[in-house]
Amino acid sequence: MTVYLRALRLVNFRNYADATALLSPGLNIIVGDNAQGKTNLLEAISFTVTGSTPRTPRENEVVRWGEDFARTEARISLDGSTDERAVAIGYAPGQKKRITVDGAPGPSLTNYAAGGAGARVVTFFPDDIRVVKGAPADRREFLDTLLSSLRPAYARAVVEYAKAVGQRNQLLRRIRDGFSSERTLATWDRKVVDFGKVVLEGREAAMEPLEEYFRDSLRVLYGSEKAAIRYSYTTTLGDYSEALREAHATDIDRGTTSIGPHRDDFEVLLGGVNLTMFGSQGQQRLATLALKFAARDYVRGMVGEDPILLFDDVMSELDESRREYLAGYFLESTQAVISTTNLEYFGSDILQRTRIIRISGGSILETATNGVRK
């Protein structure tokens, strides 16, 4: 079971006018000075495989300055070398994305993101430390992105849930301001609970395996202290309908839905200490990495295939022993693409088994295979 991305072509994507990169199974290292386009290349891989960028909500930024569209194409090798899938995303801001799979119009964006390309990705960008350090919304997004990439039904429930909550919130304000009666509130409660339950069930089912993977990963990265992630509920599945009804008065007063999965969070704990509030920058960074590795293991457990790992500038902040561990980890992955400014982070034995991709000013200068494993 080896799904990997063999080739990528970028047209008008960020600082790339037209570039092609060849990739290998195992470890690929993108190397270049700062601001040359390493991160953009990683972003492009994610964009092509999932249909949207993980980096910014302002997606029109991916279109090269002065151009009106961006296009990315990838060849994804499925299960061996002969069976290959060609996927492409065409994107002009303000228009529907054009997704094609093997030359034919692809599925909807939601379904494409849930493995429509035949591959999945787990990404790490330096800013992702907010999953541990940041607001509850960042942690919910981590869970929702991961679970949506595995189940279209979950992805749809997240979208429909947000719509139902939006309608309910508007109704609450209208009731508060005297424009509507409370007659339909119970109806919107039901709609909210219908979709909210699917979200909550999905997250509940994922927490236990995720925690186990997280604990294992953090033990290797950090040491023996006991790590945990704990879901914090605003309401449990069993009490959901009842709790929403009891919240009517408060919700009307505030004009917003105060309980449900859109307000939940999870705690990241190390030795019983909440890392979000009390962790050092270093602990938060390692915990973020461990969560990403847990996501990798979770995808593997669910679909039996490794996601492609896309890790941006992950080595610079780590000490030597951890860099060594990570290099080995990536090397043993089905496919990992990582970026760095400094190849000296890697021992010669590792570089020998790695594909090096040199980047400069939005051009891919060369991709050298140093005896890459097949």
């Binding site: 309910r168 508007q170 109806t187 709609k191």
Partner: protein
């Protein structure tokens, strides 16, 4: 300052109020009318006038009709004990074309949507509830659109009728007939799965 003579400007403005007609289409249609034959233009004007003068909602079901009651309501051969509730009059056409339904209709005039400021009072839900009582209806089939607002509307009507003896049903959602399973989108297929039935 207006680019064109006032009557032309006015025509463009009126046309651009129509659904899915943007300013450019409005301009193109307006000039088509200006250039075209007088009979055609007057024909269109007459048709517009006639439809507004003669067509109004059916007293009973709010379908569109020229008479007091619509043809469907006046057709005594139809099953008077079943009412199918739809969002818009054109939904009736879709259901009629199936030839499978022989009951009556009720046009709600939209769906509940707090975001658009649409409450039950803005729909013909009270009229439906009243009708059910007056006509001793046995079953209501709710055929609102299978989206968030349509489903909420269906749910609300069902809740309002909870204590009444009338049977409330909703259309099933699932796979298109004659298609292949592999072409069904995941959401539709997922729903069809959830609503699977005993054979």
């Amino acid at each position: 300052m207006a680019t064109y003579a006032r009557p032309v400007e006015r025509l463009i403005t009126e046309l651009s109020k129509l659904p899915s007609i943007g300013p450019k289409s409005a301009q193109r249609i307006a000039f088509h009318i200006v250039r075209g034959r007088q009979d055609d233009a007057f024909g269109l004007a007459d048709a517009l006038r006639e439809v507004k003068e003669k067509i109004h909602p059916c007293k009973r079901c709010f379908n569109l009709t020229e008479a007091e009651e619509c043809d469907i309501c006046r057709d005594t051969r139809r099953d008077q004990s079943v009412i199918c509730a739809v969002e818009d009059p054109y939904d009736i056409g879709s259901i009629e074309r199936t030839g499978e339904y022989r009951g009556l209709y009720h046009v709600l005039g939209g769906a509940l949507s707090p975001l658009d400021g649409i409450d039950p009072e803005n729909l013909r839900i009270a009229e439906l509830l009243e009708r059910v009582q007056r006509e001793e209806t046995k079953e209501i089939v709710i055929a609102t659109n299978p989206n968030t607002t349509g489903e909420a509307t269906a749910l609300f009507i069902a809740q309002e009728l909870e204590d009444s003896p009338v049977r409330v049903t909703a259309l099933a959602s699932g796979l298109p007939v004659g298609g292949d399973l592999e072409y069904a989108d995941e959401v539709t297929l997922g729903r069809a799965f959830a609503g699977r039935r005993e054979l």
